[in-house]
């Protein structure tokens, strides 16, 4: 089975059946339904604790009307985190490396925050386009710049996640290939490469968690501005 470097980024199909739905819903299996029991087993306890703490921390700076987004943020975080972490296993497909998925998550959510801001408090939402304390001659230029920055946000959100994960996976593959090819020829160099690979894997684990967190954090910040 010859693997090229593109195979891990192809949307998986099996005998013509697209498996993307399976890839997207697999993380659901890893999070058992919270029981009605008072004391749960370790898995459920830890997951509930994590979700509770995370949501509490994330919603701390939001005012009350932003708390409606609690379930969305928590589930998005858990979803992205599990997809990213599962993607680090070999021979797995990571849906978050696909720009389509990330833009599909980023654009509607960002647009929702903008529309909420424009509908409920249009003056305040438009006021964000001009930072406080700008000198008067700069105002027109700054408005244009801020508008561009506003519209770049969904793009940045989606592309950030895609690029980070794709780059990470690609790097792992490249360095693993280097180690694999060098192993019969120059074992010492191969061992060095393997060490680099180990460190890179550690980094990728961190990046997987951080990127998911950054995605949700930025969305909460956009919501904070507009709600």
């Amino acid at each position: 089975m010859m693997l090229s470097f593109f195979d891990q980024f192809l949307s998986p199909t099996f005998l013509g059946i697209p498996l993307i739905a399976l890839a997207l819903t697999l993380p659901w299996v890893l999070f058992p339904k919270p029981t009605t029991k008072w004391l749960n087993n370790r898995t459920v306890t830890l997951q509930s604790w994590f979700i509770n703490r995370f949501t509490q921390q994330l919603l701390l700076p939001l005012n009350l009307s932003g708390h409606k987004w609690a379930a969305l943020f928590a589930s998005l975080m858990v979803f992205l985190l599990s997809l990213n972490m599962l993607g680090l296993l070999p021979y797995t497909f990571t849906p978050t490396t696909q720009l389509s998925l990330n833009m599909g998550l980023a654009v509607p959510l960002w647009l929702a925050t903008v529309i909420i801001g424009m509908r409920t408090q249009p003056t305040v939402a438009l006021g964000h386009l001009l930072p406080e304390g700008t000198p008067t001659p700069l105002i027109p230029v700054l408005i244009i710049i801020e508008t561009i920055s506003l519209f770049i946000r969904p793009l940045a959100l989606g592309v950030r996640l895609t690029a980070n994960l794709t780059a990470g996976h690609l790097l792992i593959q490249l360095i693993a290939t280097a180690a694999f090819v060098l192993a019969p020829m120059m074992p010492t160099v191969a061992i060095l490469t393997a060490t680099v690979l180990f460190l890179l894997t550690l980094l990728e684990v961190a990046v997987a968690m951080i990127q998911a967190y950054v995605f949700v954090l930025l969305l909460s910040l956009y919501l904070q501005e507009n709600v």
Partner: protein, 261 residues
Amino acid sequence: MIEKQTRFNQSVYDCLFLVAANALKGSSPLGAGLVQASRSLHTTSQSLAPVPSLPEKGGKVRHGIFPEEIFQLLYPKTGVTGPYMLGTGLLLYMLSKEIYVINHETIAALSIGTVIVYGVKKFGPDVAAFADKLNQDKVAKAQEVKDLAMTSLSQAIEEEKKEQWRAEGRSLLFDAKKNNVAMLLETNYRERLHMVTHEVKRRLDYQVALQDLNRRMEQEHMVNWVEKSVVGSITPQQEKESIAKCISDLKALAKSTQAMA
């Protein structure tokens, strides 16, 4: 702040739980049907209570992923090393027949495998202890409430017993009070009696004094009148006569004394 957070935690938890629980049922018009779709596969009749309790800990595994049941299954036929031989044989078979091809993903798999094993070995016990501590804290809180309730109830029992003992002594108290009151009444009565006699005696003394005064004044008046009348009745003739008599008496006395001497 802490109550707000725990209430918030609880509400989020409940919200997520409800979302998870009702996701299937409420997700689509056919949602209710999806739950019933597998009903034909049920072997036993549905019974909601009493629910058998779920095991507290997960099944035993060896080397992190292989359930202990496999080892027990193979033990009668192949002994202790049976499953290991099976694993090694399978692996070598897949490698030699190139069913599994070693490529760069293998190296990547080794790398991530090292990271996972290292992470689990290093942080596993701590995380498990943390999860256990979360549950223990929950139990401890409930236990504290229970203990507090028990101590307060036993304290209430003690106080109730004390009150009952106090109630028994109340009859003694009543007797003492009755005695007190009786004594007070007696004292009061005696005082008033004394006062009455004193007043009566005063009035009688007054009358007696009045009578005495009357008599004395009469006496004095009478004596004065008698003296006055006697003094007034003494005429000058009588006065001379009495004086001459006195002188002659005196002379006679003087003669007799001279004679005696």
